[in-house]
C-alpha cells in the first residue's frame, strides 16, 4: 500500500467520511474511492452494496477478484427529548451498536438518574448540534413534539442530510410542522425525508414498543437500498 493511500484512509476515518480501498490481491494494485465518488465508478453496484452493509469482503469484477476494505463512520443516533421512549431506546441502541446522544434543555427531564448509561446533554439543540456536526452517518429522532425544541434540530438534520430524520407527533402535528418548515424555506423534497408519524408500523403502544419501531426504522434507512418503485414515487411526490 502506498503511504499516500494509507494516509488518505486514516484521514477519511478521522473526518467521518466513508471510503473503500479496492485491492487486486493477485497483483497488489490498489485504489481508494471516497463514498461520494461511488456513483459513476465502474464498480458502482458492488461498492454501493459494500458501503450499505458496512462490511469488508471479496468481490468479482470482470473476471478478477478484488478485496474491498470498507470504512464507514460509526453511526450516531441523536435523540431530541429526554422522555420515556428515549429511556427505553438507550439500552437498545447500545446493543445495536449505535452511538446515542440525548439532547433536551429541560433539566427536569434530562437527569443522569433517568439516563445512567447514555450521553446526555441538557442544552438547546441549536446550541449543541453545531459542535456535534451532523452528517450522512447520523440519525436524528425528535421526541418532544414541542416545536421550540424539535424544530431547530429538524432543520439542522435536513441541512446535514442525516440518513434518518424522524419526528414524533400525529398527522395533524406533522401538518403544522410541514407549514413551519416550508415557511423556513425547506423544499417539499427535503421535508418529505422526515419520517412522521415516526417508527415502523408495528402497532407499537408502549414507550418501549415505540422505541423498537424507531430503532427498526433507523436500521431500515441505514441498510436497505431504496426500491426503484419507492424512489420513483418519491420523485413523483416531489415534482
Amino acid at each position: 500500500m502506498k503511504l499516500e493511500l494509507l494516509s488518505a484512509l486514516n484521514r477519511s476515518r478521522a473526518e467521518r467520511r466513508a471510503a473503500i480501498l479496492i485491492t487486486d490481491t493477485a497483483s497488489g494494485e490498489q485504489r481508494l474511492v471516497m463514498g461520494e465518488a461511488i456513483a459513476g465508478d465502474a464498480m458502482e453496484d458492488a461498492l454501493d452494496a459494500a458501503l450499505r452493509s458496512g462490511k469488508s469482503g471479496n468481490v468479482e469484477f470482470e473476471g478478477k477478484t478484488y478485496f474491498l476494505t470498507v470504512q464507514t463512520p460509526p453511526v450516531r443516533l441523536i435523540v431530541i427529548g429526554a422522555v420515556h421512549i428515549s429511556q427505553a431506546l438507550a439500552p437498545m441502541a447500545k446493543v445495536a451498536g449505535l452511538d446515542m446522544t440525548i439532547i433536551d434543555p429541560r433539566t427536569a427531564f434530562a437527569t443522569p438518574e433517568r439516563f445512567p448509561d447514555v450521553k446526555l446533554i441538557a442544552e438547546w439543540p441549536q446550541n449543541v448540534l453545531p459542535g456535534i456536526k451532523l452528517d450522512r452517518y447520523s440519525a436524528i429522532a425528535c421526541f418532544t413534539h414541542d416545536p421550540k425544541v424539535d424544530d431547530p434540530a429538524l432543520e439542522e438534520a435536513l441541512r446535514a442530510e442525516c440518513f434518518y430524520v424522524g419526528a414524533l407527533g400525529s398527522r395533524k402535528t406533522h401538518a403544522r410542522r410541514v407549514e413551519r418548515l416550508t415557511a423556513q424555506g425547506f423544499t417539499p423534497e427535503q421535508i418529505a425525508r422526515i419520517r412522521a408519524p415516526i417508527g415502523l408500523d408495528i402497532g407499537a403502544v408502549s414507550p418501549a414498543e415505540i422505541a423498537v419501531s424507531v430503532l427498526g426504522e433507523v436500521i431500515l434507512a441505514l441498510r436497505k437500498k431504496p426500491q426503484r418503485a419507492e424512489t420513483a414515487a418519491k420523485a413523483g411526490a416531489a415534482a
Binding site: M1, K2, L3, L6, N10, S56, T69
Partner: protein
C-alpha cells in the same frame, strides 16, 4: 483490550513516517468459525513489533515472520491458514476455522 482499527492503521502510518519498514496484514477471507472477522488488520514493523490481530493469537507468529519478508522484498502475498491443525489445537484454538490473510508493504 483489542486495539481498534483506528489505532492500528494510524500506527502503521506513524511508523512508516518515522522511517520504519512497515507491512499491513488484512484478513480477506474466512471459512467456518474464524476468530477475527474479514477486514481485521495486523500491522508489523521491520523489527517484528506489531499491533492488531488477524486470528486472536494462533497464527500471528507466522504472519509476522512472513510480513518481515514482505518488508524485505516488497512483494505482496496472500497466506492461508487452517486454524484447526495440531498447533492451533495445542494453543487452545478449537474453532476449526480457516483464514486467508493478505500481507502488503507500506511504500
Amino acid at each position: 483490550m483489542l486495539a481498534s482499527d483506528d489505532d492500528i492503521l494510524a500506527r502503521a502510518e506513524d511508523w512508516r513516517k518515522a522511517g520504519k519498514g512497515v507491512a499491513i496484514a488484512t484478513v480477506v477471507e474466512t471459512w467456518g468459525s474464524a476468530p477475527r472477522p474479514v477486514g481485521s488488520h495486523l500491522v508489523i514493523d521491520e523489527e517484528g513489533n506489531f499491533l492488531g490481530s488477524v486470528s486472536g493469537g494462533c497464527v500471528e507468529g507466522a504472519v509476522i515472520t512472513e510480513a518481515i519478508d514482505v518488508i524485505g522484498d516488497g512483494k505482496a502475498r496472500t497466506l492461508e491458514f487452517g486454524v484447526a491443525d495440531e498447533t492451533a489445537w495445542r494453543v487452545g484454538l478449537s474453532c476449526g476455522g480457516k483464514i486467508r490473510v493478505f500481507v502488503e508493504k507500506v511504500n
